[in-house]
Amino acid sequence: MIARWVRRKLEEKLRVSRWGLRKLDERLRIASVVREAVAKVFPDHWSFMLGEIALYAFVSLLLTGTFLAFFFDPSSGERIYAGDYAGLHNSRVSAAYASAVELSFDVRGGLLVRQTHHWAALIFVAAIVTHMLRNFFTGAFRRPRELNWIIGVTLLVLAIANGFAGYSLPDDLLSGTGLRIANSIALSMPIVGTWAAFLLFGGEFPGESIIPRLYILHVLLLPGLIAALIGAHMGILIRQKHTHFAGPGRNDHNVVGSKMWPTYAFRSFALLSALFAVTFALGGLVQINPVWLWGPFDPGTASAPAQPDWFMGWLEGALRLYPPIEFTVFGYLVPAPFVPGVLLPGLTFAIMYVWPWLDRLITKDRAAHHLLDRPRHSPARMAVGVWALSFYGLLLLAGSDDVLADLMGLPVLTVMKTMRIVVIVVPFLFAAAAYALARALRANPEQRLSGLRWKQIRKSDVVEEETRHGGS
């Protein structure tokens, strides 16, 4: 009796809510979109989740960053630090520095969140780079996905820029050193240098404006842009469908994998949880950027070793290795930091942007692809990728030449001079080796890298010739 009554009531409620949803959908037309998204198929290969690590790192950054914004005071104005840290107690320092130390000593949970935020930032950029390498070596950037490749490169640039801005906010000695280098790089640009530096810093270095400006960039403009571009990136991804690796039953017109709901959603949620677990574990257990030790920025003091975060480290390495040469072009003096500080990153990102079209020149393949290449498929692409990986990796290493020297017990100057040669020569050797290996692997498709024989590497060109002849 009662049971029937309850059921009737429930059915009534359901009818009402269905009616409500239908009316809503008549206006928003959302059901078809949701249906499509829920039915979207995700490939199962693990490497498709690399970008998702970056996505969730960004989520973690937004959450922890919001907490930090409640306590951080982005101002160069001086005030007294009155917190617990004995080394700074009752000292006059900039409000930015004082509030960063307060977050580390006096705000409950502040240090955990500060450190988690910083670890998540390092992992964010690392995940973007790894995701990009996967797309590069498998040719995922090819037609019709050039646009998403370009958005991806832009996301990398924005992530690096935002990392640098955030790292510079606490106004400590290390970040001040970084800003001074940024200032001298801006100044080194011919013609527009002084103007650019003044525009950025609002006057002479260091000035009062840079911290508030970096803050607006760091918490509003850059994250806003990143969020918008992530939206576009994923919108395009859904529209174009995923790529996938070749295999039985897989072709250019389908995607084999798991449906968005429920299979993939749960897998993705597991990754989100893992990301929070890893970033918070690092934030709680491993110290990062102890600004209280670096001290407030003071143009008169220095600490060694002084490095930027890893994603700027390759630029630091280039600046350290580049000899102090100045030259004139069309009567304009080009100071030494211009080549490593402006030209190198400019060229680097320019080439990354146009890579989908450069790749067409190399592979002579202009067709649309939805099936991924195996990395071995294009030895030339492999060689370029390995060259770039080792070149920028070695620059990153050169950025820590003093730490290396300390570890190896060698004079810094010796390490630096050696690295100058290593950075030029070794990437070409690696690229040549990668080319030969990729070619041998391509000739032996069932072979793995670990099982490759010397004979197969040497004979790979012969085998390729034979297969080509056999095919024709």
Binding site: D44, H45, W46, S47, M49, L50, E52, A86, G87, L88, N90, S91, S104, L111, W119, L122, I123, A126, A127, T130, L173, L174, S258, R267, A270, L271, A274, L275, V278, T279, L282, G284, L285, V286, Q287, I288, N289, P290, W292, L293, W294, G295, T301, S303, A304, P305, A306, P308, D309, W310, G313, S400, D402, V403, A405, D406, L410, P411, V412, L413
Partner: protein
Amino acid sequence: MRRPTPAVCLALAAFALTAVAGLAAANPAHDPVERGRQLYGASCAGCHGQSGEGFMTSPSLRGVGAASADFQLSTGRMPLSAPDARPHPREPAFDHQDIAALTAFVASLGGGPQVPAVGPGDPRKGRTLYLASCASCHSASGVGAALPGGGAAPSLLNTKPTQVAEAVRLGPGAMPAFDTKTLTEAEVNSIIAYIGTVRDEFRHGGAAIGGAGPVPEGLVAWVIGLGVLILVILFLGRRAS
């Protein structure tokens, strides 16, 4: 078993004391300078000469004073392994008492600065002074760093207060000596107090991974951070297919 009465305890203690005193009186080496002379003859004279006059690369010890001897011995720099070796800090070769004896002997060779006394200092002032005068070589976190011209400034985290006070005045190796005009005694005390603060807070926030800043941090982010997450997606990918 019955516990010994207090009277028995006292008697035993008195016996032990007289025995030790008797032994000490019988042993001429109880006089620190005399004991120092013996140790010096065995471990130092080969390089620095019988009466500390110096020889070849080994400097004369006359007038270097107790401060220098205490610093060299307590940081384990002396005795050097070879006359042309580079002195560096390690486990001291002698115990506390023998270092005092050797120091007394070197001081007896003639004059020189005493072992400095370290008083309380203000870590706040010490921070400013440390960052301005010492961090460029020893690093802000005190872990030491390579020097541009080769060699390295050692870590200060295990250095004792007296050794810091001695080093500031002596300027060992490539380090400049700071006189009392550049850094007053109170300022040195403050620097020492600050090094104590750095040591206390060294692990604030977790494992200090070398205290060397972004280089080890980047390594941890890639290897542990991204590394673990890649293992996670490998696992998720394997479960799926």
